[in-house]
């Protein structure tokens, strides 16, 4: 079985029923994909399969054969971050970071589908993703900013509706 991950094709030894998550992390060492609950409940392991967000813990590896798999490592580079990555930095949308790769990939798919900056639509698209730091407002701000086509100054953090008084923003 062969899988194409971030543009590179690999010959895979894992069996066809192995969850894609385990192939990525254990066999290929692509650890940007996080293993949270292993039962589809948290969204940390979401990757893009032919551009569609999929829980890699629920997807048999065989179901991703002949598809383009994109993980967090594949949506930008250290020198050229993708807009969604820039937005997460600028809007302080990552705290512990464990949910971030799944959140960003689901958000990337939403943006690629032409998603708007409507918070309810963003919530619907990211509805399966849990952030234990409860940073949802910042995450939604970041996705909305990319949907609007904002540009980002990564030397500072955006002042937003939910920024505290201590940091000089609105209460």
């Amino acid at each position: 079985m062969r899988l194409t991950v971030n543009g590179v094709t690999h010959e895979i030894e894992s069996g066809p029923l192995t969850p894609l998550l385990d192939v990525l992390r254990e066999e290929l060492g692509v650890t940007g994909t996080k293993a949270g609950c292993h039962q589809g409940g948290c969204g940390a392991c979401t990757v893009l399969v032919d551009g569609e967000p999929k829980r890699s813990c629920l997807l048999p590896a065989a179901y991703a054969e002949d598809a383009e798999i994109t993980t967090a490592e594949g949506i930008g580079t250290r020198e050229g971050l993708a807009p969604i990555q820039q937005a997460f930095i600028h809007h302080y949308a990552a705290q512990c970071g464990f949910c971030t790769s799944g959140m960003m990939l689901a958000a990337q798919a939403y943006i690629d589908r032409g998603g708007s900056d409507d918070p309810e639509a963003i919530q619907e698209a990211l509805g399966g993703h849990v952030c234990r730091c409860t940073g949802y407002s910042k995450i939604i701000d970041a996705v909305a900013a990319v949907a609007r086509g904002d540009s980002f100054d990564l030397t500072t953090t955006a002042v937003g509706k939910y920024t505290t008084m201590a940091t000089g923003g609105e209460a």
Binding site: S14, G40, K54, R55, C57, A125
Partner: protein, 263 residues
């Protein structure tokens, strides 16, 4: 021909049929065969070694994902993703929309949801109630060959058959009422679906009030409280039996009210 391979890390023969006919052949009588539709239910059970199949049939390439409309008759292929149903008229559409989130719905299949076994901690198979309400029939394969039967008759045997498709006549009016879920991945604690045909005949069914979806025959005459005669709810992680018995007539009443509306 179906591709046959063996997982190196498990003694599982994996079969990948590429047509409905091949799927029927490799499923055979269904004994000792694990059917993998979308994978959203069985993958965690494999991960946690709750399942150790000797043979597994992966249906992704079997050509079973399709929707056909012939006048008011709707037929849905077994592997159709649940997300494809969210814009259907009530009760199917609202019921489908109430399942998990868009990522899960895009992978989970109609037949997988219908065939979900009784969960350890909560009722599963959200679509069972909605399809019962519209009087759906199931075409399936297994011991004795291909059969088409009402969903009521199919549900008790759902673990032994390979679903091929499900059909129903679009009702004149449909309705769905379910409890809100605290998280997108919780199963529906309790939901009621209803349908009224052109002759005014009403069918009602519930999800979450028993081990699988069931008709609420006693309430179909219009007495919402009578629905309690048809169910035997149990305690689980989502709700107590007491709570379900209190709420069921409320949901039935809402559905009956909605069914009085214009077609």
């Amino acid at each position: 021909m179906a591709t046959v391979s063996t997982a190196p890390d498990a003694a599982t023969e994996v079969l990948r049929p590429t047509s409905e006919q091949e799927a029927i052949e490799v499923f055979g009588d269904g004994k000792d065969v694990l059917v993998v539709g979308g994978g959203t239910i069985v993958l965690p059970e494999l991960t946690y070694h709750q399942l150790r199949p000797t043979r597994a049939v992966l249906l992704k390439d079997a050509g079973l994902a399709w929707i056909q409309r012939d006048s008011s008759r709707v037929t849905i292929g077994a592997m159709t993703p649940i997300e494809e149903l969210v814009d259907f008229p009530a009760p199917i559409g609202p019921c489908a929309r109430n399942i998990a989130d868009v990522e899960i719905r895009s992978q989970a299949t109609v037949a997988g949801n219908l065939c979900a076994g009784e969960g350890d901690e909560a009722p599963r198979g959200d679509l069972q109630g909605a399809f019962l309400a519209v009087g759906a029939t199931v075409r399936s394969a297994g011991e004795g060959g291909i059969a088409e039967e009402p969903l009521e008759a199919f549900l008790p045997n759902r673990g032994t058959r390979l679903v091929l498709s499900i059909s129903y006549d679009e009702p004149a009016v449909g309705a769905f009422a379910g409890l809100d879920r605290p998280h997108t991945h919780d199963y529906t604690a309790l939901a009621v679906s209803g349908a009224r045909d052109a002759n005014g005949t009403i069918r009602l069914a519930a999800t979450g009030a028993g081990s699988h979806g069931q008709r609420l025959l006693s309430a179909e005459g219009g007495d919402a409280d009578a629905a309690l005669q048809d169910v035997n709810p149990h305690d689980d992680a989502l709700a107590s039996a007491w709570y379900r018995r209190k709420v069921l007539p409320v949901l039935v009443r809402r559905v009956l009210t909605d069914l009085e509306g214009p077609a």
